[in-house]
Amino acid sequence: MSNKALFEYEDHWPTELGAVSVADGTVTFRGHDLLNALEDLSWMDLLMYGITGRRFSPAQLELIQGLWKISVSYPDPRIWNNRVAALGGSVRSTPGLSLGAAIAVTDATIYGQRPMIGVFDFLQRARAARDSGEPLADFVARELRTHRGVPGYGRPLRSEDERIAPTLRFARGLGLCNGTYIDLAMEVADTLKRYRMGMNIAAINAALIADQGVTVAEYKRMAVLAFSAGLIHCEFDAASHPEGTLFPLRCDRIKYDGLPHRAW
């Protein structure tokens, strides 16, 4: 039982990320002068460099942006996280509050962050298992027995994922569709055909990003912003309609399944 760490960190935050000097306005970003020495960094480059400490090629940065654009920028307020942003716009909350709430909601289980992180992690464990001599089919079967599903395979609303073909076409065009993990993701898809579990875009995205050397902890941070364009589009669209008109519900559209009316 010790409070040593609190004493050690009291008024002391050592970091390799960077800092701003209040005295002279210098901004150090991973050892570089952010304001004067990083002119070649795009915003996406800055984001990835900040998360990983590594620089990515223009093609890799294009890949990340393209994956976000194709797979998680749907302009449809019926999708649950988009709906949160749109509801905020409809009732005239602020864009920031609406987007913040929607990004938080994207930490979801049947879509969003959990499948994205889950399949990234699954592919890494599958590779490790195969490297240690376990047949892939055995590993997949064990995953199904233990966890009753494989993240990234199966989809709540449509079994066929319309995003896979354009994503693969896009990645091939960049010359970034030939790594170990994308091949593994396809092998897993073949293995799961007998279970009628189609691959969804989360598996493709995770594989393509894992092939760029990204870790699961880094992927978590990247994925947080992936949906933001679609979210804010839905918020702004709803804010442009008459207030309170997004999916209004009559009282009798609450289907009550509870106890009968009673006295306190």
Partner: protein, 268 residues
């Protein structure tokens, strides 16, 4: 409304519309009780809160436990991370909702937050009041095989990894809640606290007391997590408002604290 109109299904809430407007409720029923026609005049807030979560009226003992627990949790104080986050919103002039969202987001995690309470309650569900099982669990907590949005616990759930001894407010809360007499978990926790702390290598935290109290109230781990998050918001709200009044110049900026130690740093 068309015959095929989709509906929200609920066992909690029922409404009857006004005669002149199908989008406005004339009467609202919570778990079968008329909220504005009867509960408003008869139920206490904690009774209503319990009804919402559990579905039935609390016994007087359960209502008393929830009342005492709500007071214990209502304000973690301005040094606590979730309240600190809310104060950052307040001092910068962010919207009220941003302060509460900041408190919820920061106060949701594994250290003193909602997820810690959930993990502790899941342990209660598995281990019950079995001291040997608890000691084994605390000494070597199981780690999930799969990665998740949540990182693995870095300390025993419900215990303070930075504590030296059990803090007086924790002891006081445990004693008050135990004596209410609502269930088996709080008395058992009070009886075996020191043995559990030895196994955990850390003193009991308020999150651990809350987890036991929620179990005694009959809540699931999911419900306990949610209610814990709710009950800690008042302190975040008032401290955010207070710091807005004081202004940023009187709020710690930790001027000399951040030190760059990465490549190219002058660490001499």
């Amino acid at each position: 409304m068309t015959a095929k109109a989709e509906a929200i299904h609920s066992r909690i809430w029922d409404e009857q519309p006004e005669a002149d407007n199908p989008f406005t409720a004339a009467a609202c029923y919570c778990r079968g009780y008329d909220v504005y026609g009867e509960l408003l005049n008869k139920a206490s807030f904690v009774e209503y809160l319990y009804l919402l979560f559990v579905g039935e009226r609390p016994t007087p003992t359960q209502a008393e436990l929830l009342e005492r627990l709500a007071i214990a949790l209502a304000n973690p104080g301005p040094r606590e991370a979730s309240v600190h986050a809310a104060m950052c919103a307040g001092v910068g002039g962010s919207p009220a909702a941003a302060a509460l969202m900041a408190a919820l987001g920061v106060g949701a995690g594994n250290l003193g937050g909602g997820h810690e309470v959930r993990v502790a309650m899941e342990a209660w569900e598995r281990l019950g009041c079995d001291l040997t099982a608890w000691q084994a669990f605390l000494a070597d907590p199981p780690q999930a095989e799969r990665a998740d949005i949540w990182t693995p616990m870095e300390h025993a759930p419900g215990f303070d990894p930075h504590g030296v001894g059990c803090a007086m407010p924790v002891l006081q809360t445990l004693e008050v809640l135990r004596t209410v007499g609502a269930g088996p978990h709080l008395p058992w926790l009070a009886m075996h606290r020191e043995a559990l702390e030895a196994a955990a290598g850390a003193p009991l935290a308020l999150s651990g007391v809350a987890a036991a109290a929620f179990r005694d109230l009959g809540l699931s781990a999911e419900q306990g997590e949610m209610l814990y998050l709710l009950l800690r918001l008042p302190g975040a709200a008032v401290h955010a408002l207070e710091q807005k009044q004081y202004g940023f110049r009187r709020f710690p900026f930790f001027h000399g604290a951040v030190k760059y130690v990465g490549p190219g740093a002058d660490n001499a």
